[in-house]
Symmetry: C2
Subunit: 107 residues, 2 copies
Amino acid sequence: MDAQLKRGVLEICVLAAMREEDTYGYKIIKDLSPFMQVSESTLYPILKRLEQSGCVTEYSVEHNGRLRKYYRITGAGHDKIKDFLNDWDSVMRAYYFIRGEGYYDEK
Amino acid sequence: MDAQLKRGVLEICVLAAMREEDTYGYKIIKDLSPFMQVSESTLYPILKRLEQSGCVTEYSVEHNGRLRKYYRITGAGHDKIKDFLNDWDSVMRAYYFIRGEGYYDEK
DNA sequence: CGATATACTATACATAGCGAGGTATATCGT
DNA sequence: ACGATATACCTCGCTATGTATAGTATATCG
């Protein structure tokens, strides 16, 4: 996916990836890879930002002699996903404008 | 629309806005405003980039004693729109992943 | 025993939206 | 007559964020 298109979508994908169960960085990259390439240098700063903005909490678990960091989504994180889905209408209106088929018929 | 979501969409909207007929900066802002707020400090750099990358050509027409800059989309510009539309599938897959309803059924 | 997978971190760079400010003319209400 | 608003274009600086590159460390597989 185009780097510019990723913005605004990727962060929400990361939150969505931990909706079912707590997860960790490397697993998120693998889970998203079927439809979106994410490099480590992109993901880890995102996780840090999400933690600082209260959208996720983190805790470490020892795994093979190293600490593996798990992330759990918070209420604020769920709210952020909802906000994104509410914004999606305006994205679709832009898409229909670009397709050039005029009015976007509400779902 | 969220600033991050705009990236990758806005530039293509600008190209789409001149598909029917040549247009100019101020008019583009008005034409997009029903579904997307664009400030002048965002638009004019975009038009400059599009010109430098060969997606549009520009020419000036005198209007009320001042020069008004018109923009015309090129073949490369049309190609860019096509590329965007071809990429849209992966955006929708990300959207369906976020919605949490699993597999994205091809249109 | 080297390659690959797993797993996290830090530095430096490029891209692009946007607020704030600048310049200039025309029009409209009071 | 005059201030507000609309039209029309441009630039500077800030900020957010994707990404390449590199570093650290263990386990596994051929």
